[in-house]
Amino acid sequence: MSLLDLLALLPILILAFGGTAILMAGAWYREPRPLLAGGVATALIAAVAAGMVQPPTAEIAGLFSAGGYARFFTILWALLAAAGLMVAARYIMEKGLGAGEYVSLVLYAAAGMALLSSAIHLLGFFLALETFTLAFYILIASNRRCALAAEAGLKYLLMGAVATGFMAFGIALIYAVSGTLALPDAARLTTTAGELLPWGLLGWGMVLIAVGFKISLAPFHLWTPDVYQGAPAPVGGLLATGSKGAVVAALVGLLAMSGPVWHDLTDLLWLLAALTMLAGSLGALGQKNLKRLLAYSSVTHMGTLLVGLLCQSSEGLAATTFYVVVYVLTSLGAFAVIASLADERGEPMAFDEWRGLGHRHPVRCAVLVLVLLSLAGLPGTAGFMAKFAVFQAALQSGYLGLVLVGVFASVVSFAFYLRVTMLLFQSEEPASPRHAGTASEHAVLAACTAAILVFGLFPGILFDLISRILP
């Protein structure tokens, strides 16, 4: 770890040490406002550092790359952390949580995500994954007064622990078969082919199970609705966007570096993708709670992302990256709306708490409608361009079957999203008005809306950026 490596790792160091500093400060100085401001500042500085500072070396100690791709996602996760903190500000102050602890945990999570996105070594992959998972274990259960939060925390913890078990055993098998942990060669498994190959594939299978838990693929997604419902909205926002986005970013990075290496895994991935899309969309159809609906919708989106990964073509990877960025922005918007409406009676979750809110809070409900329509894939919004790109890539690689499943899932998702939008603007027995929301929340909402519309109508900007950074 020479000085140059440290310099290359600068943004993540800023996040980590910033978090520690705020944690220490929080011990003496309980006043939440400055701590939050400090947290947001740290995140922004890290983002600027990632953007400005040209890393001297391409790789950091063989574990993480510092290339354009990694820095792009470092910026994204840093901005996400900043937005998450801005959304959580009012929540922390009202619930009287330890501002220092919350902010530092979020910053550690951001650091973990940035590391994961730039991991080029299984060890780095494993370390980064565990760092932000641990941070989330605590963040989810942070609201001591709410019983459901504890339950959600427990579920996430136990499932996470089992997943870590699978991940570790998987990596071990890969290491046993390929003799190396560096990702491109480990993935290729060509060096020691012969009779041990299936065991290597089993190793990758088990890593896939752990990844499946993390980005809630079909059979491993059952925890998602409960955790999203239990976790407070700001944490749910980070969980839905950051943790999933980072893992997918890592997989994209892996595939981008090593080329089409997963041809043995394709039929397994095909099955998982189809199952996920169906489970997500059908699950959401019967929901009566908005956060659970968002959870299932995130499952569907992960299925579509898997379709993008499956294509293993440069088109597919660019489409998946675009999809991840758009998905992160839209989901954040959705949870930000829920957080901004939360008041002393808690967050509006069940449908009859949302009935007719459109008349009381027209602007924010309009944003929510735009977000939902973007999640559904209405043309004109970023969601459509993302889905269009993935479908185009999938068709190019000949996965017509998956595209048709995707079409069915999209139609079903339009159904339940539109049912929510109708609910919002229902005029008979409307629900009581909610909190007016603070400036910081409105800023985040404005940013998300702008992103959805800009990337929807002028996606060229993001596409060019992605094609430049993808190796």
Binding site: L373, V407, M422, F425, P459
Partner: protein
């Protein structure tokens, strides 16, 4: 096709599409004050109508394939371009949209709930429709195809009738399924074309040259057909329309029947037929038979209805069946008749929906048992109702007859049996329209009511339509002139 470089002239077509959008945003900004929103909406739609009229007058007789053509890059990664192209047919549709929008806004003058968003949605719908009629790039077309659905969905689900939500959801999902198949077919065509010529683009002009095998063409044509058949409700796929129309608010149903139904047929003419000539050729007989079945099924169903709005919905389906039959005949006169019938049907059925709304405002009912004897109570309204019903019935000298006779004359050339059967359908039209007229105007008044006759606003809506109906019936020449060139090229395999 040598890309017609966008002549450096005023971007009229972009103005047509973006002006209503601007109006909608302004309406939302003034959401507080209802009066201002109404004035704003009216001003915008008047401006759009002015532009459309100017284009009709000045740019009506261009010789080449396109009267106006605008083209600029949009998403270069996928070769998606911002292309707006107007030919004779698009010109008529744009004019119809602008005119009907004006009537819709006047009709919606008495809306109380959320006036601003109602008018904003109406203007957004207009912008979507303008886009559908003008866009010449597949993804751009698809963008407007879906964007036009959203305002209609909200209009029905918020301001609609009793079970409006079910109808709105059914309406949206029905057309959505069709359009998703179109999306997949679009992408597949894009890739095949790219594979063959190395040029990856979505502009229809370019995609016309793709050489497709029979199976490929069949499947892609089926994909596009799914979207357009559902939208121009051919019979087995029409149940969404009757629910949506009966539940939609007055202005919404006016736009739905007057314009949205035309987008389906317009899509066939502009996108599906030119792109897949051979698949179209052997699909035409099926299309013709479907149209005929639709014509009769809708006529019979209309005869059985009690709710006058639902009866008019079925009558729309029946008329559009005749329009599609005209297209299926693949003959110059038949096509011009179909397009003329699309315009006149928009006006006559639109006017009838206005009248139904006015009757509902006065008598708070739409069922024929409770209506009747209106001639005595509201003579002017009843006269207009009679005039437009007769026009919709196909009485010679009024609007629909010109279109219908052209369709029948054209269809008879190659498919005499179709024309004769369609002519029989015209008697069925007389049956249910006369039942409607008798149920509403003549006969003893079910309940003695003192009803106010037409107010000046209502006169302003109905009089121009009445004059237009008579004018189109007697001298449709100015509206047929722009069509000759365009229809000829489209029929000749349409390689511009």
């Amino acid at each position: 096709m040598t890309m017609l470089a966008s002549l450096p002239q005023f971007p009229w077509l972009s103005l047509l599409v973006l002006l209503p959008l601007g109006g909608a945003l302004l309406c939302l900004l003034h959401s507080g004050r209802a009066a201002e929103c109404r004035a704003l909406a009216l001003a915008t739609s008047l401006a759009v109508f002015g532009v459309a009229l100017y284009l009709f007058v000045c740019h009506g007789q261009g010789e080449g394939r396109w009267l106006l053509y605008e083209d600029s890059a949009w998403i270069s990664r996928y070769g998606i371009r911002y292309v707006l192209a107007m030919d004779g047919i698009a010109l008529l549709m744009v004019l119809l949209t602008a005119f009907m929008q004006l009537a819709a806004i006047l009709l919606a003058w008495k809306v109380e709930r959320q006036v601003a968003s109602f008018f904003a949605l109406l203007l957004l719908l207009e912008s979507g429709l303008m886009g559908i009629f003008l866009a010449y790039d597949l993804v751009f077309f698809y963008l407007f195809w879906e964007v036009a659905l959203i305002p209609m969905f909200f209009l029905i689900s918020i301001w609609g009738g009793v079970n409006r939500r079910r109808a709105a959801l059914k309406f949206f999902l029905y057309t959505l399924v069709g359009s998703f198949f179109m999306l997949v077919a679009m992408i597949a065509l894009y890739q095949i074309h790219g594979g063959q010529t190395g040029v990856y683009t979505f502009v229809i002009g370019e995609l016309l040259q793709t050489r497709l095998t029979a199976t490929q063409e069949g499947w892609l044509f089926a994909g596009f057909l799914a979207a357009f058949i559902v939208k121009s409700p051919l019979v087995p796929f029409h149940t969404w329309l009757t629910d949506a129309l009966t539940e939609a608010p007055a202005a919404g149903s006016l736009d739905l029947t007057g314009l949205l139904l035309k987008t389906g047929i317009y899509g066939l003419i502009r996108v599906a037929f030119p792109l897949f000539p051979n698949a179209t050729a052997n699909f035409l007989p099926i299309l013709g038979v479907l149209a005929l079945v639709g014509l009769f099924h809708a006529a019979w169903s209309a005869y059985h209805q009690d709710d006058i709005k639902r009866l008019l919905a079925y009558s729309s389906i029946s008329h559009l069946g005749l329009v599609v039959l005209g297209l299926a005949a693949w003959q110059l006169t038949a096509w011009e008749g179909s397009i003329l019938l699309m315009v006149t049907h928009g006006i006559t059925t639109g006017a009838l929906f206005i009248l139904v709304a006015l009757i509902r405002e006065r008598t708070a009912t739409r069922s024929m048992q409770e209506l009747g004897g209106l001639w005595g109570q509201v003579p002017c309204l009843a006269f207009f109702f009679l005039l437009f019903s007769l026009a919709s019935l196909g009485l010679p000298g009024l609007a629909n007859f010109a279109g219908e006779i052209l369709v029948l004359l054209g269809t008879f050339q190659d498919h005499p049996v179709w024309a004769v059967v369609a002519l029989l359908g015209v008697v069925f039209a007389a049956a249910y329209m006369l039942r409607l007229i008798q149920g509403v105007i003549w006969g003893p008044a079910a309940k003695e009511r003192s009803l106010p006759d037409l107010t000046p606003r209502e006169w302003l809506m109905l009089l121009p339509m009445a004059l237009l109906v008579v004018w189109l019936g007697l001298y449709p020449e100015p509206f047929l002139a722009p069509l000759h060139g365009t229809v000829a090229t489209l029929l000749a395999g349409g390689l511009p």
